[in-house]
């Protein structure tokens, strides 16, 4: 059977070939950075970071574009489960629940962030949110990257005065029905709206102490008391929401597209700088205007973390350090690049460094009242799951 032997050799030859190419791929100076890849601008910024770290440190930064941050969590967990020491993830962009989950399952490298040379520029002592991720202490397992605050935006072509707080939002929705929505609570942006509503509605709570309870571990009785108003609010809101609350979009990208399509006229995002640059990229209408709610803006810090089994932890630390550098932070904060607020404290920067942050771009779509914004702290992470479950019990048909 000459034919068989011949093809057999070809086949094994091929297999040998791939195995060879496979071996040559393991590159010690590569850093695999797993980060959400839905935003072309953020992707471009990360690209720039890659160019810089290659130039300065000879590191090849590989941006692994995730559609869900939890994909990276799953990956590391699976690797731990299979007891193989070789990991494939060097650096992950995350915060909140994803961080809490990885911490709980001991998937993170311990105590490295505070040793980074640039860490002192964050002035962690005076800025509590640098070392607390949604109320969980970071313990040096993640390095801060940027600050996000909930900002709303509306289509000024169809109305000129947007609602300025949570109650005004409901009133507005009644007069301009079916033109607002928020994503399903399984999405980070979706649950953030619900959290904002919960915090805002409880600002003037009957029990002063209730306000504080939201930042302490979950308590069922407090939960029921505190969420009563929330459900009443949402019941009313849903009936005048887009699709009457019968369908919730899956993620923030979808929400943004609805706004671009003019199916909704009011929306929100965590990334204030995203809006002007989206308008410039034709992804949002020209008449888009953004602003912060007067009753407060849900704020958090987002971080980068290193898994316990990172193949190139040293390289990852260098990248994390670069991300904290004034040059990188300043560039990131420019609206034309990303518009993500810095985690550096200007009081510890020198004049040269501070100058990097000055910019003249005043974009018509950029939020103007940021200086006056009240920052709303995130809820304690133990409230999230009960909140999601209660929402789903009420609203998932």
């Amino acid at each position: 059977m000459v034919l068989n032997s011949y093809l057999k050799y070809v086949f094994w030859g091929f297999l040998a070939l791939f195995s060879l190419t496979a071996y040559s791929q393991n590159n010690v100076t590569t850093v695999y950075f797993h980060a959400w890849g839905g935003s072309p601008q953020i992707n471009q910024y990360i690209n720039w970071v890659g160019e810089e770290v290659e130039r300065n440190h000879g590191i090849k930064l590989k941006h692994v574009k995730l559609s869900n941050t939890s994909d990276a969590v799953t990956l590391v967990l699976t690797q731990k489960a299979s007891n193989k020491t070789a990991g494939t993830v060097d650096l992950i962009w995350l915060n909140g629940e994803n961080f809490a989950s990885m911490a709980e399952h001991k998937l993170l490298l311990e105590s490295w962030a505070e040793d980074l040379p640039n860490f002192r520029l964050t002035n962690a002592l005076d800025n509590g949110d640098i070392t607390y991720d949604f109320g969980v202490s970071t313990l040096g397992r993640e390095s801060p990257w940027g600050r996000a605050s909930l900002v709303f935006y509306y289509n000024s072509e169809h109305f000129t005065v947007p609602p300025s707080d949570i109650n005004a939002l409901l009133a507005w929705a009644k007069t301009v029905p079916y033109r607002f929505t928020y994503p399903h609570v399984d999405d980070f942006i979706g649950i953030s709206f619900v959290k904002y509503a919960l915090l805002a509605l409880n600002q003037n709570a009957d029990y002063e102490s209730d306000k504080e309870l939201l930042f302490k571990p979950y308590d069922e009785e407090a939960f029921n008391r505190v969420t009563k108003q929330l459900w009443q609010y949402l019941d009313q809101l849903h009936s005048v929401m887009w699709r009457k609350g019968q369908f919730f979009v899956k993620d923030s990208g979808w929400l943004k597209r609805l706004f671009d399509d003019e199916e909704i006229l009011l929306s929100y995002t965590f990334s204030a700088g995203e809006i002007p640059s989206a308008v410039d990229r034709f992804e949002l209408p020209k008449a888009t205007r953004s602003y912060f709610m007067e009753d407060g803006s849900l704020s958090n810090v987002h971080f980068v973390t290193i898994p316990f089994n990172a193949p190139n932890a040293e390289g990852a630390k260098i990248v994390a350090n670069f991300l904290l550098s004034p040059v990188a932070q300043a560039k990131k904060s420019q609206p034309s690049v990303w518009g993500d607020a810095t985690v550096l404290d200007s009081t510890v920067l020198n004049t040269q460094q501070r100058a990097l942050f000055l910019s003249d771009d005043i974009h018509p779509s950029a939020a103007s009242n940021s200086a006056n914004t009240r920052k709303l702290k995130e809820l304690h992470p133990t409230w999230i799951v009960p909140l999601k479950q209660a929402w789903k019990a009420r609203y998932d048909n």
Binding site: L7, G37, L77, E263
Partner: protein, 563 residues
């Protein structure tokens, strides 16, 4: 004879072991066994929890109904198209021109359909505000309607080209073509119209031969993800989507629920097949009832009129969708009330071209390599089973294993096992996982044409002293050039559109156009997504054209033989 069995054994093992092994690995945690999370007790509590969870039964119902109905619609539509165009002798060319649609990635198709049907979609835009009076998009509940109608219709639309292709490959098999013509002539002389004769006489002979592939399509549809995600309702969603959501959940305990859902998914697919078999029986009964020329002709006559209409609607729809996506890819601002974008820009194309180099290269060489290896192994197996028809028939049946187990069920387990053993080479894992899903299609694309070759030609060649190698190279290969080329192009295209195998095999570190597109889909840049969708549409077309050129058929020529 043991030497001759190795290709078949190798082919089948490479395909079946990951599929079965993967399924077991995913299903075990459903019964409580997941050491990684310190669960080692077998228990049914996870299932109990799942069954009592909210929306579970409506999710099951939605999944089963949408998959059965969509395939039913697809089969019926294909049948009436085939009956109509068979008479006009245009069936083969019709089917060949539908071929590129086969390899259109589901996500791109869903996005395109969504863009046409949405209240802010291109259709309504074109009619607003002049015809409809809408200044803003109407608050209609489609797509993503609660009953899943849009989703069902879209699934049907996506599968029509495939089912037509199946039918054509049976009808135009060499020994069958003239036989079928004779049947139809005979029936016509008894008073049946050509249309009726196709349905009542040819179809019952065609169907048994395409039954197994249709089961595979049914299973695939019951577990499909992209179309339900983009066009289906959110609560309940289908089982497959709930499965994926559980797997992505930060709460790692949800992995157990995910496994339980995988078991449910398998059961749902099985139930769908059972329901389908019931429908088959009903179809059989109604065929017998129509076995009278006048009855049949009267009932089928009006259907003939709607076929052309239906055809124009479907083709029109596809053209509008394609046109819409093309416009979007170069669109600037595009307010609802404008028919066309206010301004155009190439920035999205430029940005894509800048970033696609690595993913494009990866996708291309993975696809071409996988297609080549599949082709090589399948051809070797075909040659080695030349003398044992039974073995070949067995392989043809076994090849359906990964097609009858939903990918969302076995791929996670399979990739876990594969990456465990081939840790040193993510690329190898990806190639292997792609092989599992591509090889069945390549085999199916090859086997029939291979067997159609007149065996006497091969006998004669042998008696003239030709060794097996010489017979292959000088007789079979030239005659099967086009078949091989098409099988290769098909394999490569299927590989291009794969998401889970690439993502899981490479642990996320290997990006292809498809993985990039999926990541982008979670962002808000619809214009960029359109660019990537167009690239995903163009890639298979290019490969098919090259294959046609190489095999000497010209760029886009169709042809009577389904080669």
């Amino acid at each position: 004879m043991t030497i001759n069995k190795w290709p078949a054994v190798l082919l089948c093992s490479l395909i079946i072991l990951p599929a079965l092994g993967g399924s077991i690995a995913v299903v075990l945690p459903a019964f409580g066994y997941l050491p990684a999370l310190e669960q080692t007790q077998f228990t049914f509590s996870i299932f109990n929890q799942l069954f009592s969870s909210q929306g579970f039964y409506s999710s099951v119902r939605l999944t089963i109904m949408s998959s059965v109905f969509s395939i039913l619609i697809a089969v019926i539509t294909s049948l009436i198209f085939a009956a109509y165009y068979y008479e006009k002798r245009k069936l083969a060319s019709l089917s060949t021109s539908l071929r590129p649609l086969l390899v259109l990635p589901h996500a791109a198709a869903a996005i395109a359909i969504g863009f046409v049907l949405a209240p802010s979609g291109i259709l309504i835009r074109m009619l607003s505000p002049d015809v409809t009076g809408f200044v803003l998009p109407p608050s209609w509940a489609i797509p993503n309607d609660g009953f899943g109608l849009v989703m069902t219709l879209s699934l049907a639309l996506k599968e029509i080209p495939f089912i037509m292709l199946l039918m054509v490959s049976v009808i135009y098999q060499v020994q069958r073509t003239s036989l079928f013509n004779q049947y139809v002539s005979a029936a016509q002389s008894l008073g049946y119209s050509a249309f009726s004769s196709f349905i009542l006489i040819l179809w019952p002979q065609i169907y048994p031969l395409i039954r197994l592939p249709i089961f595979a399509v049914l299973v695939y549809t019951s577990a499909s993800i992209e179309i339900p995600l983009i066009l289906g309702p959110s609560s309940p969603s289908t089982i497959a989507i709930t499965l994926l959501t559980s797997l992505n959940d930060v709460d790692l305990q949800q992995r157990l629920t995910a496994s339980a859902l995988a078991v449910v998914q398998i059961l749902v697919s099985v139930v769908s097949i059972f329901i389908w078999i019931v429908i088959e029986k009903l179809g059989e009964k109604s065929r017998l009832m129509l076995a009278h020329p006048n009855k049949a002709n009267t009932i089928f006559a009006p259907i003939k009129y709607i076929v052309r209409l239906l055809f124009f609607i479907i083709v029109g729809f596809m053209l509008i969708a394609f046109f819409g996506i093309c416009l979007l890819s170069i669109a600037g601002h595009w307010p609802f009330k404008s028919v066309l974008p206010l301004n155009f820009t190439l920035q999205n194309w430029m940005s894509a071209i800048h970033s696609i180099q690595t993913p494009l290269f990866n996708g291309l060489w993975i696809g071409l390599t996988v297609a080549l290896v599949c082709l090589g192994l399948c051809v070797t197996t075909l040659e080695a089973t030349s003398s044992s028809i039974k073995l070949r028939a067995l392989v043809t049946k076994l090849i359906y294993v990964p097609l009858l187990i939903p990918m969302v069920v076995f791929m996670f387990g399979a990739s876990f096992i594969v990456t465990l053993y081939f840790e040193f080479s993510p690329i190898f894992s990806v190639l292997l996982l792609h092989f599992v899903v591509v090889a069945p299609y390549v085999w199916i694309a090859l086997v029939q044409q291979y067997e159609d070759l007149d065996p006497r030609l091969i006998s004669v060649a042998k008696t003239l002293g030709a060794s097996q190698m010489k017979v292959f190279v000088e007789v079979k290969l030239p005659l099967l050039k086009q078949t091989f080329a098409v099988a290769f192009a098909l394999g490569a295209s299927i590989s291009f559109s794969q998401y889970l195998p690439t993502l899981l095999g490479g642990s996320g570190n290997i990006d292809t156009i498809t993985t990039e597109a999926v990541a982008l889909a979670s962002g808000g840049s619809r214009r960029l997504i359109s660019v990537y969708s167009l690239i995903q549409i163009i890639m298979p077309m290019v490969v098919f054209s090259i294959a046609n050129l190489i095999s000497g058929r010209g760029l886009l020529r169709g042809g009577n033989k389904l080669a």
